[in-house]
Structure formats: structure tokens, C-alpha cells
Symmetry: C2
Subunit: 329 residues, 2 copies
């Protein structure tokens, strides 16, 4: 960081009104146009936030202490900043922007902080939950493209809590993965497994995010759901979840994950299915037709949406690696 | 967090366009009107930031990882979130909002991350720096009110780096405070001490904030300065610093601390002063007349500024503990 090699425009005498343009000036030599644009927007919004709230030094310090506590509680298996993003609706928003869905395709939702990379890759039909207190639930789903054709060989991550509402990694004596699996759809696009009926659960609320929810008069519950993540070359990465209709938290999910199209009714396993899938007649049944979007469809829609949004803001922009930056040429 | 005791308005089906109002709805039962307003503005600005940048999932995740790293590097003697706030110009802005200064009073500036609470309380005239390589500098200042009357008994915190540009707490073998002191102004409002001529120094740049500066093409230097903090009942808390004119970083301070009125020229100790203060003739001399604002003046100005700003935004607001909240009565 030899200062003689850095050319910084001269700053002006700083005031409440000109500090923002001065920060833009000092950041204006950034070589990456996307980082420069992101910082410009970030600084503008943070400053406007402070000006529009007349943020006090005490409030600012409370914010500094809050963010520090959020950072301090993060571990390899707990991401409190993602949780914070979730309860502010930011995670849902970013997913919606980045993974736009044409009509009839499956909507995405929040990833949440409990996806891990150590789930076992197992065959179709496996039992993913070893909780003896869970209510058995047969899950039979299929994956299609927007033309209705089955998609074979999609890598599908599935994860759910146990019957107490805890993920495997939340136990201090966590040994090996449970309630999660990675499997692949078959030639008919079908994937199925044995699981337990999802239950509502509180997001981790013993940390700073939980305290914030309390102060806001909010609860920390998520409605019953099961997570699904779909990956296959040529298709847009789909992170989603299915929610059980009638759950007490269906309309007040602490992390804004519920979308109408992702709410399902559980069915019942009949005699024929029981025989076919090796489960008991009368067991609960979860079925869903997932529809994947191609990378190309997704990219096109994302870029169209981006340029439309920029036009609406009256900003002259161009795409840079598929993301908007000022068009200064 | 018994859900039956929490009344949350029903959320609507979530989209890019309505997620913000939905987050406002879920936060709308917050009992503290100020917290509610702050969260509303925060959520609005964070969401607008994501919509206006079309923030991608990868960029969001980079942000999550950045904030986590910022939190992780914080210790009792290193506050990387304050540093982040500093290099984004937020610290300077918040200080300017919270401590407005009428003309002729001394302007405030950034606290920075190196103020500590363990400085020794010593008599006027003490030598605060024990660095044998520093250039001696006599500091003789006085404190007055806006009517020009001396203010006696003001508690003054002073801190500066050693000649290498490091604060005491930055050394791994940090034992006891050096380069810092707390003293009180005398009956004439005078305070004086022996120090060393401040030098430019880099802000800590081995952490995530330093990396961000690099990516932005910015340097990490602060121009030569000495910190001063003034406290006395009835007067607005003043956090400020004096900067040496002609410093190579005078116009590009990494943390936006320099204000024209705080830039000073060093003088030279003459024979009479040398005798009076027990220093060498020809030593460097730093003099400044600090002017404190009363609590009452400051409060009035802050509240006037706040209401003017709210009016300009077209928001119908009232003051709540001196800070604006929506006037919904």
C-alpha cells in the first residue's frame, strides 16, 4: 500500500451533506466496475439511513456491538449473519432477484443456515431420519423441465429437523448426519425416500438475532417444512422448501420463506403405494412436482429484469458479467 | 416466545416488490417507536440496495463472509466494525448529526478504534509519550465556552501513536498505557503536556477492512494527528483531533477525519516558553483554542436539524427522547 502509487482525488471539507459524495470520490478509482457500483449504492443507502433516522452515537454504538456479537457467535455450524439476513427478508429478496422463475416453474425460497455439505449420497428409497419419535412420512416427488419432460440425474439435497425441531448439527454431541441426504432423480425424474413429518421449530434465538426478534415483538418460529436443493448442469440451481398447509406459523414465518405455491397438503399412503414403496398403509405422504428452469431461461429473465429495474430508476447501465454497472463509455 | 402471545399480521405471498412492506408488517408490533422507525428505515434501505444493485447470491454470500470475518477479528483492543464504519464515512456522519456545532465552536471528528479507558489521570505538564525516537512537542491549549469564558475542570482524554505510528495497544507485549493521558483544565481553561510530533500511520490493514481498501484501490493511511476528547457536565461531549497541515495524507484520510478547522501549523517553543514549561527552546509547539458547546445549545441545534431534515423528506414526525419517530397520534 505505497501511498505514492495510489491516486486519490482530493477530498473536500466534510459536512453532513457532502460526506457521501466524498466517499464516492475516494472509492472512484476502484478498478472493478461492479464492486465500485455496489460500494456506491451501499454507501448512499447507509448514509441516507443515518441521515433519515438522525442516528445517534449511542444507537450507532449499539449497532456496532450488535454486529460484533453476531460475528462472534458464528461457528462452522452456525451462521448468525445469514440468520440476520433471513429475519430482515434480505435472503428471500436476493434469491428472488438472482433466481427469477417463469410462470409454472418451482419458486425458490431461503436456504437457511442449516444446509451442510456432509450429507450421505444414498439410493432412492432410503430412510433419511432415524428419529423413532417422528411421524413416518413417505416422500415421492418428481423433477421436470418447463416443457414437462422428466429430468434424470438431478442431484437433490434434502434436509429436515428431527421430531423435536432440531437439525443434527444443533446437537452438541453431533456425530454423523441425520435427517439429510443427497440423492439423484431416476430416468422418469422421480425421487423418493422415507422421512418424518416436518414440525415447526424456532430458529436459534439464544444469540443477538433472537434478542432482536424479542425487542421487535416477533416470534422466532418457522412453520413446518422440508428443504430441497436441486443441481444439474444446464439448469438453474434451485433452493426451495415445501411448507405444510395449516401450520400455526404459515403466515408469520420468522424468515419469510413461505410462498403460496410451496404450501402443500399431506396425503395418505394407500395399500398399493404401501406395497410399492415398502411403507405402512395410512402413513403420511408428501408429493410434489418440481419444475426446473434452464440456465439459459434463468439468465435471460434475470438480465431482462435487471435492465428493466435500472430503466425504472432512470439509470444508464450496461451488463457486466450479467450484472448491472453504470454505462460510462 | 410463546407464539400465542405474539400477534403478527398475516404476511402476503412474497415477491421482489412486496417483501419490504411484508417485513414492515411483521415488525409493526414493536413497542418501541424509535426501534420500529430505525428498523423500518434499515429494511427499506437494505432492500433498495439489493434491488438497485440486483445483488447476486454470490455477492450476498461474499458480504456474509466479509461481515463474519470482520466480527471474528474483533477483540477487546481491536474493533474492526468501527474501522469499517470509519472507512465508509459513517462514523464521521453520525458524529456530525449527533454533535452539531454552532459557528465558532470546535468541530468534532472520528473517535477511531484506539481510544481506551485505561489511560492514567495525570497532572498538567506530564510527559505522555515515552518513545525516545519521537520528536518532542509541547502542547499548550485552552478550553473556552462559546462566550469565550475559560472552562475549568474539563476532563480531557488525549491519545497519539508512537514515532512508528502505532498505538500502545497495538503491540503484542502491551503492558501499560503510553502515548495517552487524562487530565483536567485549570482555572484559566488551560491544559498542557509534553508529547511527540504526530506521524502518519496506516489503520490496521491486515484484516478484512484492509483487504476491502485494497480492492477499492484506496490507501490505508491517516494523516498525522492527535486525538482529544472533552467531557464536563453541562457541555456536549466533544470528540475531536488536530491534524498537521501539509501532511501527505491531509486530503485523502482513509477514515474521513480531517476538517479544515482542525488542521493546524506547528509552532516553535521560544526561550520564554521553554523556561516556563521546562522544555527545550526550538522544540515543536502545538497550540489550539478549543471551544465547547453547552448541552442545551447542542440539544436544541440537534433537534432543530432533525425536524428540518424530516420536513425536507416530507415525513410527519415528532421527537421521542430527542430523536424523530413518526407522528401517528
Amino acid at each position: 500500500m505505497d501511498p505514492s502509487k495510489v491516486k486519490i482525488p482530493v477530498l473536500k471539507d466534510l459536512t453532513i451533506d457532502n460526506i457521501t459524495e466524498n466517499v464516492h470520490r475516494i472509492n472512484s478509482t476502484c478498478a472493478d466496475p461492479r464492486l465500485k457500483y455496489i460500494l456506491e449504492q451501499l454507501v448512499t443507502h447507509i448514509h441516507d439511513f443515518a441521515r433519515e433516522t438522525r442516528l445517534s452515537t449511542n444507537e450507532w454504538m449499539a449497532g456496532i456491538e450488535f454486529l460484533t456479537a453476531v460475528g462472534k457467535i458464528c461457528t462452522d455450524v452456525r451462521q448468525e449473519f445469514i440468520l440476520l439476513s433471513d429475519i430482515l427478508g434480505l435472503s428471500l429478496l436476493v434469491d428472488s432477484i438472482d433466481h427469477p422463475k417463469p410462470p409454472q416453474s418451482t419458486e425458490g425460497t431461503v436456504l437457511g443456515p442449516f444446509h451442510t455439505h456432509d450429507a450421505e449420497h444414498l439410493a432412492l428409497g432410503t430412510n433419511i431420519s432415524h428419529d423413532p419419535n417422528g411421524t413416518p412420512c413417505l416422500v415421492v416427488c418428481n423433477v421436470r423441465d418447463t416443457d414437462g419432460k422428466p429430468v434424470e440425474g438431478v442431484k437433490i439435497d434434502i434436509w429436515e429437523t428431527d421430531s423435536k425441531g432440531f437439525y443434527d448439527v444443533q446437537y452438541s454431541d453431533y456425530g454423523k448426519p441425520d435427517g439429510r441426504v443427497v440423492m439423484k432423480s431416476d430416468a422418469e425424474g422421480v425421487f423418493w425416500f422415507k422421512a418424518i413429518v416436518p414440525v415447526p421449530y424456532p430458529i436459534p434465538h439464544d444469540g443477538p438475532v433472537g434478542k432482536l426478534l424479542m425487542q421487535l415483538g416477533r416470534h422466532c418460529w418457522r412453520p413446518s417444512h422440508m428443504h430441497f436443493m436441486f443441481e444439474k448442469g444446464g439448469y438453474d440451481h434451485l433452493i426451495t422448501a415445501l411448507y405444510l398447509r395449516g401450520d400455526p406459523y404459515e403466515t408469520s414465518d420468522a424468515v419469510f420463506g413461505v410462498k403460496d405455491t410451496l404450501v402443500v397438503d399431506l396425503g395418505t399412503v394407500d395399500a398399493e403405494m404401501a406395497k410399492k414403496y415398502g411403507v405402512k398403509e395410512g402413513d403420511k405422504l408428501l408429493s410434489y412436482d418440481f419444475v426446473l428452469v434452464s440456465d439459459e431461461q434463468s439468465r435471460k429473465l434475470r438480465e431482462e429484469n435487471a435492465m428493466k429495474a435500472m430503466e425504472k430508476l432512470g439509470r444508464r447501465m450496461k451488463l457486466y458479467n450479467g450484472l448491472p454497472v453504470p454505462d460510462v463509455d
